[in-house]
Amino acid sequence: MTTTPLPDVVLPAPAVLPRARGRDALWLGAGVIVLALSMLAGLFVGAVDIPPQDIVGDLISRIPFVHMHSPLSSIDAAIVWQLRLPRVVLGALVGGMLALCGAAYQGIFRNPLADPYLLGVAAGAGLGATIAIVFAIDITVVGVHALPMFAFVGAIVAVGLAYIVGRSVGAGRSSTTLVLGGVAVAAFLTAMQTFLQQRHTDQLALVYNWILGTVATDGWSEVITMLPYALLALVVILLHGRLLDVMGLGDDAARTLGVRTAQVRIAVIGAVTIGTAAAVAVTGLIGFVGLIIPHVVRLLGIRTHRTLLPLSMLLGASFLVLCDLVARTAVSPSELPIGVVTAVIGAPAFALVLRTSRVHG
């Protein structure tokens, strides 16, 4: 068996590696601060004018053993804690999940154009949601309504089909056949969705609203519904950070390093599917975040997945919270669809980041 190499070599100080590591830790710290500030902004700003200091005062008055009268009226307190906070948390959860899943897919498929909807999650969820809407299905299972349930199941089924189709074609192990399987399944499901919509034009507006996506909520039920899936996806994906770097070498090279590539791919695809399906089920289709945020993080000089994944999550969460802030205040008292805001703010911002990064090499 292999033993240590060159026992007589004097070991040099390995000063090369920790330096990059320290820089990455700084970025992660910055990401946490950005997210905290974004969430505070989301909590402080809204259609109803509530002074931030009063919100802070209310927060302090809720600390046990602090005897202070809350400066907020009960209506204002309800707006802050039952409307704004759950909405901010849901936005952060969904934005973080989409960006994390996008980064994981770009890694596992070695494709910078991959996003979390690559294998048909959006088409499957879209068909599921359409079925729930046009047939007015009204069942509730453990507090979850038909629409998110159908969207979730549709998303999972779509990726399952894509996987089966991909595996059955050719070698089946390569990621290209998997992506093509996803394309085929998505086309098929979208066609079915279009057919259903066309037969039920009276409910078109409802379906359309769902497709545009929203993180509007009147309580914690969406957050609670999504949380277990999000946590599962989060843990599994973050644990695969180093292996995603290895997968970047190509399947053959990864296998010569002793990695079971098919197993890693299934684990990551499974986690991304569950996380994305849960996000889409509660908020509809929010685009752009999963595709663009990982690129922004790479442009910051983050190279390894171990940092790329969590930082994408932090910045994706911040981005969606801020986009939602714009969505609900820009044309107050009505709201913009959040998907419109993510693209309208995100695309120029991304172009700008791209440009500056080119200038600095």
């Binding site: 292999t2 190499p5 060159l6 590696l17 695969h240 770097d245 053959d252 010569t256 002793g258 390894t304």
Partner: protein, 267 residues
């Protein structure tokens, strides 16, 4: 020091048998170079050795049998430098070389101090410390190949498999890379099995050559024994002149076939 012994190894890709009944003894610490025309099966044989493709027959690695070894155990013994290594261009050199430590890190684990020491040591030996923070996409061809070799060495293998390690490099870089491999072979007592088109360079560096043609091993021995006008002419299907120098070096010179159409300059 690990001997590699192939006994009646065959490999099929789909219905087609690409490597047929190859038996080859690679002594411990030797450098054997697989030569042969395009499509002869050199890469397939290397891939079989790296366990990337199933084979029939037996491949012995030291005392063990390749197909019975664990994935991890294999990866600690054998490292492959691929013909077209996919380089994740956005990765830094040090992080890339660190990926070579994968066989020693558990599934969800992370590298420890020893891994960092091994990588730093290899970077130093391959004169890559200055490039450690450079992105792979910003390297020249020669640097890139050195980095790929560094990643393979980070596996601390006893056997190094090289598939066309010097293609696409200019003559100077080719020699640099081969010299580097030669140095590391001696320093680490590596058994090296490479595949190349370049017969002259193969003769210069390998201890023994194995000529593969249409999937079968047709000649094996020292460069002087294998590189003969008759053998090469037969299997490459062209006219050649082989010049053996007194110092042991060999030059293979292609001879143009007599042609009806001649270039204007020769008219």
């Amino acid at each position: 020091m690990t001997r590699v012994l192939l006994e009646r190894v065959s490999v099929a890709r789909g219905d087609r048998v690409v490597v047929r009944d190859v038996s080859l003894d690679v002594p411990s610490g030797a450098w054997v170079c697989l030569i042969g025309p395009n499509g002869a099966g050199k890469t397939t044989l290397l891939h079989a050795l790296a366990a990337l493709i199933v084979h029939s027959g037996t491949i012995r690695i030291g005392d063990g049998e390749l197909s019975r070894m664990s994935r991890r155990g294999r990866a600690q013994q054998l490292a492959l430098v691929q013909q077209d290594s996919q380089l994740p261009t956005g990765l830094r050199v040090a992080d890339y070389v660190m990926l070579g430590r994968t066989p020693y890190i558990s599934y969800f684990g992370r590298e420890d101090r020893n891994d960092r020491l091994v990588v730093a040591e290899i970077l130093e030996q391959l004169d890559l410390l200055g490039l450690a923070d450079r992105l792979l996409g910003h390297l020249s061809g020669g640097e890139r190949q050195r980095v790929v070799v560094a990643r393979a060495l980070a596996q601390l293998p006893s056997i190094l498999l090289l598939d066309e390690p010097t293609t696409a490099l200019d003559l100077g870089r080719q020699l640099q890379v081969l010299e580097l491999i030669r140095e590391q072979q001696c320093a680490r007592a590596l058994t090296v099995i490479s595949a190349t088109h370049d017969l002259t360079l193969a003769a210069a560096y390998a201890d023994r050559l194995a000529l593969i043609s249409c999937g079968s091993l047709v000649a094996e021995g020292t460069p002087r024994e294998v590189l003969t006008t008759a053998t090469l002419g037969e299997h490459y299907g062209v006219s050649l002149r082989v010049i053996h120098d007194e110092d042991g070096s060999v030059a293979v010179i292609p001879v143009r076939p007599p042609s009806v159409t001649r270039s204007p300059g020769e008219a």
